[in-house]
């Protein structure tokens, strides 16, 4: 079999696809360079004397955490989208379309309103609960067959309802709370701080370990329920672990930068186009592409119409909606 190389490292033995590994490495390099450029872009400072006085402060306290948060959240959304698309075997599955994002947002909003003093560390956990309940409800409503378009349509309906509830809560809240919540929900990275970067990175780590740990089982599961089970994968347990991981990643992202749309939809498709391969390659490339997307969206939103800052969520929608239309067009014979 061409293209593979077996790697031995102590007790660890694994098989890498040379071209795909190189492509991921290349993507990571591009990401790194783009990150350096993005760090320098903006109103007050360039790279001329980056660490001098006030400029260093801008870089260290504002731009670096913001950039890192963009990378981490992008990677999280990319991973979540790739997982949901594999699970539902539907390239249109996205945390935003399935209602996961709205469920997490609503749960976090409830926390903000009723326990405003609660530690921000609780947010991803609360979001996880909200997101998982939404998935459970959607699965129940769809009654079997999460692989069909119907499942996604039901998810869309549920997320409409949850958006209504979110709007209701915003009206009920007092004015300062509402303003905070509105800014947060709009999907902006402007509030990034080192503390949120650390928390988000922790979420990414947990979700990533769960997903990469089950990647090989996921490969087998891609062959269908029967074949998966006869190859020794407990399909239900696997699905539960992967849904939980995807929801945790989405909830983590929602907690720290609000509702960023379309990343989970686009990143896996870019990954399939550019790298291809099984779950391991798909997850790595989706994470990288997600990070690229959010970082570019945030930087463009920050710089393009300066001094007006456009929230990354809107820039992402401008990229994402045409992609969604294109995906529908490509699937026109299927449903």
């Amino acid at each position: 079999m061409s293209g593979y190389r077996v790697v031995h490292c102590g007790p660890l033995m694994l098989r890498l696809h040379k071209r795909r590994a190189m492509l991921c490495l290349f993507l990571a390099l591009v990401l790194l360079m783009a990150a350096v450029l993005a760090l320098g872009a903006g109103g007050t400072t360039g790279w001329s004397a980056p660490w001098a006085g006030g400029q260093g402060k801008v870089l260290w306290d504002l731009r670096l955490p913001r950039l890192l948060l963009a990378l981490v959240c992008g990677a999280m959304l990319g991973l979540a989208g790739a997982t949901l698309q594999s699970l539902t075997r539907n390239g249109l599955a996205d945390p935003g379309l399935l209602g996961v994002r709205e469920g997490a947002s609503l749960a976090i909003l409830v926390l903000l309103f009723f326990l405003p003093t609660a530690a921000p560390e609780l947010r991803p956990l609360v979001g996880l609960v909200g997101g998982v309940s939404v998935v459970a409800v959607t699965v129940l409503l769809a009654r079997g067959g999460i692989e069909r378009m119907r499942f996604i349509l039901i998810g869309i309906g549920v997320s409409w309802f949850l958006s209504g509830l979110i709007a209701l809560m915003l009206v009920a809240a007092d004015v300062t709370m509402m303003q905070t919540a509105m800014v947060w929900l709009a999907g902006s990275l402007s509030g990034a701080a080192w503390s949120s970067v650390r928390m988000a990175a922790l979420c990414l780590l947990i979700g990533g370990v769960l997903l990469f740990g089950t990647a090989r089982a996921g490969d087998v599961a891609d062959l269908g329920d029967h074949l998966g089970r006869s190859l020794g994968v407990s399909m239900t347990r696997l699905a539960v672990v992967r849904v939980a991981a995807a929801v945790l990643l989405t909830a983590g992202c929602v907690s720290f930068c609000g509702r960023l749309g379309f990343v989970g939809l686009i990143a896996p498709h870019l990954a399939r186009l550019s790298v291809g391969g099984g779950q391991g390659a798909l997850l790595s490339a989706s994470a990288l592409w997600g990070a690229v997307l959010v970082m570019v969206a945030d930087t463009v939103g920050r710089v393009a119409f300066a001094p007006i800052q456009i929230p990354a969520g809107i820039v992402l929608a401008v990229i994402g909606v045409p992609v969604l239309l294109g995906l529908l067009w490509c699937r026109r014979d299927r449903f």
Binding site: G157, W160, V171
Partner: protein, 330 residues
């Protein structure tokens, strides 16, 4: 007999809805106050001012928009043979909003005039819907329920993204349309009602006139053609009427969703499936529903007001989910 009963019940409901709407206003004004304000208007009386400048246009806008959206729902569902046919889901509302916002943000001469707002909205909605139809009729299986719905959602997303893009760069327009863009009957003023009402009445009549053709269309394309109904002409006419109905509604109260989804389902229970009876009843029912939705939105968190569109989404989204879960077995 049953028909008469249904009509009487509808009229009674309408009266009750108006009373409820009247009672939920933040300022208590009795029936006599209302009566006097209309028939013996005193410009110095604050109650009269409230009634004439705020309540009446709001009520009228809600009723007319609801009627238009209700009938548009029936028309869409019959024309597309799709229980998810609804102006908001299929992109008409978002397209109409985008057109209005663009005409407000950029100086486009007569098109920015308030009198032409319903026409602009209708054009925008119609174009968006045309795009949805073009996209979803591609492919081997043709215009399936799932595909139309998905394309509608995608085109809606496209239009709303463009709308928020325009508004981000133009804060002045954002301030004027903010309330309206959420879909709120409170945005209805005499100016917009006056501009939209004649057009809407015309479109409602035109929709009713299509009833006989729709009855034949319900028998299937092949039979309809052999009975002498031109499919293309009926569909085109229907789509123009739907676009005008939605444009008129959006120009007054903004993009309010789901009325067109709930009303047809209810109206079909209230009346025979004969479109000649179904269409006017759906219109009245839609009017009632939007008035009630507006009243509840005003009353639920009083003294704060919820946008009417949020209210209809809270009820309508579960209905959407139910219809998908039940009717789509693929």
């Amino acid at each position: 007999m049953r028909g008469l009963l249904a009509v009487a019940a509808l009229l009674l409901l309408l009266g009750a809805a108006v009373a409820f709407h009247q009672a939920t206003g933040p300022r208590p004004i009795g029936w006599s106050g209302l009566w006097q304000a209309v028939w013996a208007f005193d410009p110095m009386n604050f109650d009269h001012q409230t009634v004439m400048a705020l309540r009446l246009p709001r009520l009228l806008a809600a009723f007319l928009a609801g009627a238009a959206l209700g009938m548009a729902g029936v028309l869409l569902q019959s024309l597309l043979r799709n229980p998810l046919g609804e102006p908001h889901i299929l992109g008409l509302n978002a397209g109409a909003s985008l057109a209005v916002v663009v005409c407000l943000a950029f100086p486009l001469g007569v098109f920015s005039a308030p009198l032409l707002r319903p026409v602009v909205a209708a054009t925008g909605g119609g174009l968006a819907f045309l795009l949805v139809l073009l996209l979803s009729s591609a492919g081997r299986l043709g215009l399936t329920m799932t595909k139309v719905t998905f394309c509608g959602i995608a085109v809606s997303a496209l239009a709303s993204t463009l709308t928020s893009g325009v508004l981000l760069l133009d804060e002045e327009t954002l301030a004027t349309v903010r309330l309206w863009l959420l879909g709120d009957a409170a945005a209805g003023t005499w100016t917009t009602v006056r501009a939209a009402a004649p057009l809407l009445l015309l479109a409602l009549l035109a929709g009713w006139a299509l009833a006989a053709r729709l009855n034949v269309l319900a028998l299937g394309d092949a039979l309809a053609t052999s009975l002498g109904v031109s499919l293309l002409k009926t569909r085109l006419l229907g789509l123009v009427v739907v676009a005008v109905l939605c444009g008129g509604a959006v120009s007054m109260v903004g993009p309010v969703g789901f009325i067109g989804l709930m009303v047809p389902a209810m109206a079909r229970r209230l009346s025979s499936l004969d479109h000649r009876a179904l269409l006017p009843r759906a219109a009245v029912l839609g009017g009632i529903m939007l008035i009630v939705a507006d009243a509840v939105a005003r009353w639920l968190l009083a003294p704060r007001e919820l946008a009417t569109g949020v209210m209809t989404a809270l009820v309508g989204a579960p209905v959407f989910v139910l219809i998908v879960a039940r009717r789509m077995k693929e």
